[in-house]
Structures are given as C-alpha cells and as structure tokens.
Amino acid sequence: MAIQIIDHAFDPYHEIQRYQSTQPDYLGAIGATSIFIGTMRDFNQGSQVTGMSIEHYPGMTEKQLSLCVEKAQGLWSILDSLIIHRVGTITPNEVIVLIAVWSSHRGDAFDATRYIMEALKSTVPFWKKECLDADAERWVTSNTSGYQ
C-alpha cells in the first residue's frame, strides 16, 4: 500500500508500472486491477478554466488517505493499492489523482476503487482554486457525489 502527495506533473501509467515492479510476492494472485485517474478539465461550472492550484493540510492529508484505504480493506479483499494526489499548480489535462487497487476478484477491485475515490472526495483535506483568466480565480466550494 502506498500513498503519495506530489507537487509536480506525473504520468499515472509510469507510476503504476513502477509500483507494480515492487510487488512480486502475490503477482499470481492478482486477477483484477481497477484504476481511476482524475484529470483536470478546461471547463467547469460554466467557465473556461486555465489552471488550478490545490492546497492541502500536510499530515492530515496522509492520515485521512490512510483511513480511506483501511476502511476499504475492512470492506473488501484487497492485495495492494496505490494512491497519488497532486498539490500545487496544475494545468488542464494534467492528472490530479490516481487510485489503483489490486485484488484477486473484480468485484472487490471495482468496489474498493470507487469507495476510496468517494471517501477521498468527501474527507481528505485538499482544496481546489480555479484560475478563470489572468485576474479571476475562485475556490471550488463543494464536490459533487460520484453516485447518481
């Protein structure tokens, strides 16, 4: 299990492959890998968005992310997981968050990935501020639910 908060752009596929190379023990037990990648869009709530900055609460961020993973581990059978979240200045098309979950069975992998993502969105202390143009910016005030 790994949790990383990073302040520079990253390639999620490269990070997954790098992380996977460290997990040979249960390789033959992995039947399902579920991955979610959240990317910055260039349009949100009716406005063109040119950039974004993400603030966080160092320490509490890692603590709450660990809690999300622990809760998922209590609910489903997980072999491993990797979470990476960006902070700092971000431009459109860059990855904001990566969640990867490895499991023997697909139901566990799907459910745990989605659970961790929703828990992250509602409990982990990150805050987004959008840049609308050179002068204007606005705090994103709430996350929508990922379930309809």
Partner: protein
C-alpha cells in the same frame, strides 16, 4: 494552556491568516476556540473542524498541546 490553530483555503482568506497560538486558562470546546480566536467574525456555514488531524465534533473538548484546524468542505480528487 496553549493550543495551535490552523486555517485553510477560503477560511484562511476569511480570517486573514493561516495560523496562531492561543493561550487560555479553562478548558474549551472546539466551537469556543473558534469564537475565542475570531470574536468579530461570523463562522462560515459548513466549516469543518479537526483536532490533531482527525475530524471532531464542535462540542469536543480541546486540551493543552492540541492542534486545531478549521477549513471549508474539502474539494480534492
């Protein structure tokens, strides 16, 4: 006793600073910490509170050495 208070994101802008130290004699609840520190400021709706990096109820008691944080709803992911 002494506690540290942090503010994040829009709440940091609202109170005008990111942190301060509070010294007081009697035990306070989290809600009392807010009004002790920001007597002249309205408490924005939906503000969240954490003590030592864990979410807490606004009526929970703060003890010496605690780190209290106030912030708006989180918007990561």
């Amino acid at each position: 006793m002494s506690i540290k208070v942090y503010y994040f994101a829009s709440l940091k802008e609202h109170v005008g600073h990111s942190e301060h130290e509070l010294e007081f004699i009697q035990s306070l609840t989290v809600k009392e910490v807010w009004f002790e520190a920001n007597a002249d400021l309205a408490l924005p709706k939906n503000t969240l509170a954490a003590v030592n990096m864990e979410y807490v109820d606004w009526n929970s008691l703060v003890i010496d050495g605690d780190v209290v944080a106030f912030f708006p709803p989180v918007t990561g992911g």
